[in-house]
């Protein structure tokens, strides 16, 4: 029965496999002109991993400088460039492109489509993002233009006005920063439009919206959110460029402009941006946790509703980044409430993941290990978020190392852990080979230990009054030992990431052959070959439930009997 509705690669696949014997140059040319969603997905991910290593090295430079008080490893200006570039790179050149890269690769496969809705827009978006990254890093060479070389933005990734004005930031580093974000922002917008169009119009027969895998749902919500949030960032950057080049006064406080307006623009982008980054991670967890617990996701409709809920609420919380700028008490109270409300749908998600594990038979493969790390760390990140949302306490903790600890718990403890989980989980599909489990477990445990040594400790040094963005600190403040511990943890994470990078390369050539469905999973991407052939599926799949491969493997007890 089921065989007739769903093509299983190897039995039904009739796509000719073109083993092109192209020369290196032709093959590179093929990558440049490609409009294939899978190749573009791989380009995004490789590009992001490259920048992950770059921005990771910047983080280590920061930590070497702060390992002891009064160090001279970096000059103050270079230190400021390092943390600006670290933040900007991690958010715009690692987080967003890698998650949109996963979306590019996986969304069409998961919904049984042959490509994205707009393949050429897809390629255009990638290259815009890529050039945005190059533009940002070109500032190391061209930041001071003719007056001398070797510079980079040093205004923080939040780039508060009026520090970004010509008077306080001469040279061109800040211009490269603004232009890079405008360019890559347009790339991101293009991809978001593409994902929305693809999920709404390219689903295979039987794939109703409420049968889409949760990863696809999350990417749909994220793409909608991206359209709303990248726009104010782009607008603010254009205003900044007008200020700097055309004598505008939007943020020029010396001519009556407003520094606070920049903060509003930046955070109405910046806070939803956190959800743009974390929700794909939710999607990854919602795919991996069920497969490795051997159970259907618990409360699918609640998960979808919670995701949409988070997206809506996240648009009304931005000023919790601004509790210290002197809003009225009523304004502060409003943003306390809206921020705390985020905890409700987020809590629903955590409870549903726990309930999915409950009663299962957990297999502790590397992807699941990273997801388990994610669950604990995201729980803590959510709770420290509640602490920060209590405005009076925020007056103490804002811009301290406690905040750094909190958002790294979200960005590393939740998002990066799930990015690693996703790479271990889908690498066999993309390359046809398994990543080494031995190296994977080394990577996991070292990274976990390093992560906790670094970021758990940061909470305490924040309680002790250490502010962020300082290139050195006074030796008599009680922060010395804690900072050394933080730096040591950073080095352990660095080693773990190098093991991961080695695993990626080594397994590509020597990994165990994966087969179509190495994890015994349930979504459509596992029904086709590894790597999937051009246009993905030999025949259009037809699905009757959220887990088409479960139905296929259990014809006597299929999901569609039970799903509401």
């Amino acid at each position: 029965m089921a065989d007739q509705t769903l093509p299983i690669a190897g039995t039904l696949d009739v796509t000719p496999r073109e083993r092109s014997q192209a020369m290196l140059l032709e093959s590179l040319h093929g990558w440049v002109v490609t409009v294939d969603h899978k190749r573009l997905g791989i380009l995004y991910v490789v590009y992001s991993i490259f920048f992950l290593l770059v921005a990771g090295a910047e983080a280590l430079a920061i930590r070497i400088q702060l390992a002891w008080p009064g160090q001279h490893f970096l000059s103050p200006q270079v230190y400021n460039r390092m943390f600006t570039m670290h933040g900007t790179t991690m958010v715009f050149l690692v987080g967003m492109p890698i998650l949109f890269g996963f979306a590019n690769y996986l969304v069409p496969l998961m919904i049984g489509a042959r490509d994205m809705a707009f393949p050429r827009l897809n390629a255009f978006s990638f290259w815009l993002t890529a050039f945005g990254g190059l533009l940002l890093y070109y500032s190391f060479i061209g930041g001071f233009g003719l007056y001398g070389m070797g510079s980079a933005p040093d205004v923080g990734w939040w780039a508060y006005a009026p520090l970004t004005a010509k008077a306080f930031s001469p040279g061109h580093a800040t211009d490269y920063w603004a232009l890079a974000l405008i360019v890559s922002g347009f790339g991101t917008l293009g991809t978001a439009i593409n994902v929305i169009a693809t999920t709404l119009s390219m689903r295979c027969r039987g794939m109703s919206l409420l049968r889409m895998p949760l990863f696809v749902w999350l990417m749909l919500v994220v793409s909608g959110l991206t359209l709303v949030t990248i726009t104010p960032l782009t607008a603010a950057q254009i205003m900044l460029v007008i200020d700097r080049y055309l004598g505008g006064h939007f943020f020029d406080t010396q001519a009556g402009g407003s520094a606070v307006v920049w903060m509003h623009f930046f955070w109405i982008f910046g806070h939803p941006e956190v959800y743009v980054l974390v929700m794909p991670a939710f999607g990854i967890a919602s795919e991996i946790i069920p497969v490795f617990s051997r159970k259907a996701i618990f409360g699918y409709p609640a998960m979808v509703a919670a995701s949409v809920g988070i997206a809506f609420v996240s648009l009304g919380v931005w000023a919790h980044h601004m509790f210290t700028v002197g809003m009225t008490s009523v304004g502060n109270a409003f943003f306390v409430l809206s921020t705390m409300l985020v905890g409700i749908p987020t809590g629903i998600k955590i409870f549903n993941w726990v309930a999915t594990i409950w009663g299962g038979k957990i297999r502790f493969a590397t992807p699941m290990l990273f997801c388990i790390g994610f669950l604990f760390q995201f729980l803590i990140a959510g709770l420290t978020g509640i602490m920060l949302s209590a405005a009076p306490w925020n007056w103490q903790l804002h811009n301290s190392y406690f905040v750094i600890a909190h958002f790294h718990y979200v960005l590393v403890g939740a998002i990066v852990f799930n990015i690693f989980a996703a790479i271990y989980y889908w690498y066999p599909k993309v390359t046809g080979r398994m990543l080494s489990e031995t190296l994977g477990k080394w990577h996991f445990w070292l990274f976990l230990i390093g992560f906790h040594i670094t970021f758990d400790t940061m909470h305490f040094v924040g309680f002790l009054g250490m502010p962020r963005s300082i290139y050195t600190f006074e030796p008599d403040r009680g922060w010395n030992h804690l900072n050394f511990v933080i730096s040591a943890g950073g080095m352990i994470q660095g080693i773990a990431v190098l093991i991961f990078a080695w695993n990626l390369v080594d397994s590509y050539f020597r990994g165990k052959v994966a087969g179509n469905d190495p994890w015994d999973a349930w979504t459509l991407e596992w029904s086709t070959q590894s790597p999937p052939p051009a246009y993905n599926f030999a025949a259009d799949p037809v699905v009757r439930s959220r887990r088409p491969l479960w139905d296929l493997k259990h014809p006597d007890d299929p999901d569609w009997k039970y799903e509401a």
Binding site: G299, F463, G465
Partner: protein, 350 residues
């Protein structure tokens, strides 16, 4: 009654947390010398204490959530781990439950209501506190990378080291701080006295402190403001009423006029020093840099980047970049003799 009970409950729940926090603070302080750390767990002023009260309450609730949810999660992972002797069959598939979903939606809503109401009370208590008539007014102006303190009613201008009188229940003498910026965003943060408030150009802010114990409290700028943000340190001296009155009396005097250092004074008044610095009672009236009328009454120079001694002062004048690379004061290219004369003059400014 109910309030008392809940207050007692909060104290009870938060007791272990306080102990741990205090232990951490003491450990750190012990490790690095005698001066205490600017810990948020060691408040010495009403706003900081009420924030600590709120934070312990929030810590207790979030700690409870962590133990409950984290415990369930850990238990589920251990209890439902795959076993070696497993028959390979799939476990029972459970798709969801509306009752359970409702339960874990409603309970968090209740928690949020409690947290919000508690938080809102503290916001209004601190932010909308009425200003008593006896309050001392101080205008704080943030500069790249130093603090200017003006006492408009007392006619005092000083820098980097704020002096305020101690306050007590019977004789409340809070200090109201009006926060301005001359250039970019800064943030005023002395953790033991109050939460931070930003200094934003074109956007005047206000905060208040009422220190209950005398002593020195340290803090620093908490909003990235440029190259030397890290060395924009801040000291608050809380004086007894008598000490404070004496300090005011001293600061209201014009700059010392000592004929033995006339050469140094001449250099100060004829080089570019006067463009930025003011010394009351002399032609020097600049406002870009710190007021030097009573330079030697301060324990530090360069916004806390160095202790105020003859040697550090000399090195600072020779080349400010050596002490604080990126500071806006230029090296004046004076010869050794001139620097000596200038330092001799400045050290008379008590």
């Amino acid at each position: 009654m109910i309030r008392e009970q809940s207050a007692r409950a909060i104290r009870l729940v938060s007791l272990p947390i306080v102990c741990i926090a205090a232990a951490v603070a003491r450990q750190a302080a012990w490790a690095d010398g005698p001066q205490s750390s600017p810990s948020v767990f060691a408040p010495a002023s009403t706003p900081a204490s009420s924030i600590l009260g709120l934070s312990l309450f929030v810590l207790a609730i979030t700690g409870g959530i962590f133990v409950t949810v984290g415990g369930l999660l850990a238990w589920a992972i251990i209890r439902y781990r795959g076993r070696k002797d497993d028959d390979g069959s799939e476990p029972a598939q459970i798709y969801g439950s509306t009752q359970v979903e409702l339960a874990w939606t409603v309970i968090p809503i209740l928690i949020v209501v409690v947290l919000f109401l508690t938080t809102a009370r503290i916001i209004f208590a601190i932010q909308d506190a009425p200003k008593p008539r006896a309050a001392l007014d101080v205008t704080v102006v943030g500069h790249q990378y130093w603090w200017e303190f003006r006492y408009p009613k007392l006619g005092i201008v000083t820098a980097n080291e704020l002096h305020v009188p101690v306050s007590s229940k019977n004789d409340p003498r809070p200090t109201w701080l009006h926060l301005l910026s001359a250039d970019v965003d800064h943030s005023f943060w002395v953790p033991q006295l109050a939460g931070k408030t930003d200094l934003i150009p074109n956007h005047p802010n206000e905060t208040w402190i009422d220190p209950l114990h005398t002593g020195l409290y340290v803090g620093q700028c908490a909003q990235f403001c440029g190259v030397e943000h890290a060395k924009m340190l801040l000291r608050v001296y809380v004086d007894t009423p008598e000490q404070f009155a004496a300090w005011v009396q001293q600061e209201q005097q014009p700059g010392a006029q000592d004929a033995s250092v006339a050469a140094g004074r001449h250099i100060f008044e004829t080089e570019a020093c006067t463009n930025c610095h003011r010394i009351a009672g002399t032609p020097a009236a600049g406002t870009f840099g710190p007021d030097l009328t009573h330079l030697m009454s301060r324990a530090t120079i360069a916004s806390g980047a160095a202790l105020n001694t003859r040697e550090t002062l000399r090195s600072w004048i020779e080349d400010p970049d050596h002490t604080k690379p990126g500071a806006l004061m230029p090296a004046m290219q004076l010869n050794d003799e001139q620097v000596d004369q200038l330092v001799a003059y400045l050290t008379t400014l008590r």
